[in-house]
Symmetry: C4
Subunit: 263 residues, 4 copies
């Protein structure tokens, strides 16, 4: 339909990497995402007047149609369409509009699914695009890659610790509180709430044994909870050091090259 | 009215950077801030005897008049008056006295605004001046600047995470607890209280699905909460290293200069 | 009974270090551990139908027999049998099966001990084997070794802090809340829940003195709680740095060796 | 009375730095401290049988007499007696026994002061002596010294933040919850419990404005709470680096000295 040149220009606009029209398109889309999030959030509040609800629904239809148009254009201008559709950003773009059409279809079929509607809020993930081209995200990525294996082992240790804590507290507290610590899965809830130091206060040990056990679990557990902080911190330090070392090495190389040139 | 020399001396006193009278003025003002904070705090306690209230009011008037005089003098001695008025410290100095005159005006107009009166407590921000000339604050500033972009992206990630957590828990818990998880905004309150590990215990999931979802949210969320600690720690390390590298480079440069001088 | 060669091959299979059959045996055992954990967890839920209970019991018997066979084979193929039995992994393997036989024995003797049954869940510790050969675990181990003495002193400081906090709060709160702060041991529970920032909300100070005391305890206490994070982080950084220094030193040594060879 | 030599030997025993009798004296005293802590803790439990109470009282008298003897000997053998009495360890040693004699005196005067008795538990501070000669404590000390000014500024920032948070929440929540947020001091309790993420759940905002304000307070506040961790971590890293640099510098110096010797 349209020339290859127009297509390329359209792609540039949608990518939002260039100044001028592309930047404007970018900010309009960000504004729409934020607007859409706010309306969807308000929409879940019970007891809002029907006129407000009607306005929210209409504005939601308009916004989703714009996002659908954007998605269609992105697929259209992509050099490899399937690759875009199944890429991270392609899937996020689809998640942003799919719940609307699913609830529409279910609604026409007479099924009311509020839950699916809530998923429209996941279009907030599109805001991640704001950070797409930043050096920071690359540094994060590199730090996570460095600490990946360690984080996996930390996750394994955490799971083991949660089970050991749940087993122990079940043994101590089940006779005294058969409701709160009814089973190991119930005790797992306690273990998680305690070891993350959230401590809602809906379940807590009341026996002396359970409290002493909690002491030991927390002494060991907080150390394990502290490890990922240390890991990410340590990895980020290393990434920064590597960056400055690379800069230094480049400077030295340039100087040497000059020195040889002089010689 | 007064000579330029007297004006310059007055400025020196108010800045509090020099020993002698300036230092004394400085400590008197700090003492007045602390005294003023204490009286304003006591003033909000309900049921204090009327004589105490009267004394507190009078002492507040005296303290505010002194602060007003100080503010006037600072504006008077400033080389560029508007620049001082709209500077960070100028605004803080204004915040310290403005609520008094606003409540006075409102009181004369027959309006009682306790809220505005509480804002007088914001004069505690003036205590930040204690740290104004310290090397530490400069190091903090530099570390925050180094980690600025990263902290911004962390804030974006946190906001996205809060929304995703709120959407998910709303889906799981709303049918079981229509009061506590009445809407996405209500669920956002839960998400914030949980991910910061404050865990008041006013809202918490009770369904199995909601609890398993909470597990995943916390596993990912605590990692994100841990990142800023790592960022600031890593940035502070770098600032310290830069400082010691700069000292080292200076020493080497001095030695080389001596070496050449010898040659 | 069997040849030394067959024994060696069996050992290789059980160790799971080689690709092929050994790897398959490894994954089957991991699958059985996970399956066993899930069934044991479900088994503690009250009110599950009797058929489900029967199925769970039978599958538990089968799994434990397989683990017993595995344990027997491991003891059989071990070069030094006693050494394996009293090694860390040998004890874990025993813990995984012992509770089954103990409850069986107690059951035959007419004693019902649900608590001992729960201990079967400790076979989750066998999952630690997943991380046995990873470089990460070695790094963890080295970091903990570096920070060992510091962690011990932190533990001592924490214990002292807990006692000081409990003593103080008992003094302030016992007269006002004789139930919640009935004794120093009761106050220790409060001290632990507060200083780890879990904050269940079952006990908290209500007097002005107790609250001001809590402020000071938290100001000092959070610093102490923060120290182990710093310790482990700092130790992990050092381990990483040592590793990269060692690599660098090796590279330099190789280059020098080449240089000499050329000369 | 006794010879200077015997006095010196006695001092060596009490200091516990040498192997042999001194080490034994040291461990006996540590054991007595631990025993004394346990008995004093048990003593506060209400409803223990009178015989147990009598036994605890007698053993407390014996232990305190031993500690008094030890204190007397320490004062006796100290080269400068007043200096020891007012030293850190001298004061701790006095705190360990003084409450006993104070309660005795008050008891004879017919006054029952349970509070003072609880202070005997502070003799747990004597356990700090365990860490007296460790290199770790020196490293801690150096790290705290490095981060001292920064920690002071962090404390100032925390205090300012607490006041700003309390002022703000008082403004938002006082009309809705006049009991829980009765005054700024009451709100300060909320601010502290929230910013340290303890979150007992005794006070929490219920208005939309108060909750949104809490969000901003936590976003800024957790960053400030995270700073000391970063500071101590960063300082400990630097201390470790300085130590290894010093070792390296020594090695290089030794090598150079050898090199010159060869030349």
């Amino acid at each position: 339909m349209i020339s290859a040149e127009a297509k390329a220009r359209l792609k540039t606009y949608l990518d939002g990497r260039e100044s001028g029209p592309g930047r404007i398109v970018d900010w309009i889309l960000i504004g729409l995402i934020v607007y859409s999030i706010i309306t969807l959030t308000i929409d879940t509040i019970p007891g809002i007047p029907p006129e407000a609800t009607r306005f929210l629904r209409i504005s939601e239809i308009v916004v989703t149609l714009i996002f659908t148009l954007e998605y269609g254009l992105r697929v259209y201008v992509a050099p490899q369409r399937l690759r875009y559709i199944f890429s991270f950003w392609g899937l996020i773009d689809l998640i942003a509009i799919a719940p609307f059409y699913i609830t529409l279809g279910l609604g026409l079929a007479g099924i009311d699914m509020r839950g699916v509607r809530a998923f429209r809020l996941l279009r907030i993930l599109r805001l991640l695009k704001l950070a797409r081209y930043s050096r920071t995200l690359a540094r994060f990525h590199r730090a996570f890659q460095l600490a990946r294996e360690e984080l996996a082992i930390y996750l394994l240790l955490t799971l083991i610790l949660l089970f050991v804590a749940a087993t122990g507290i079940y043994y101590f507290e089940n006779p005294a509180q058969p409701e709160a610590f009814a089973s190991i899965p119930h005790s797992l809830w306690w273990a998680m709430v305690t070891l993350t130091t959230v401590g809602y206060g809906d379940v807590y040990p009341i026996t002396a044994g359970g409290r002493i056990f909690t002491f030991f679990v927390l002494m060991v557990g907080l150390g394990i909870v502290a490890v990922p902080t240390g890991l990410i911190s340590s990895a980020l330090s290393q990434v920064r050091r590597e960056e400055s070392d690379a800069r230094l090495a480049q400077l030295v190389a340039e100087e040497n090259a000059e020195g040889k040139g002089d010689g």
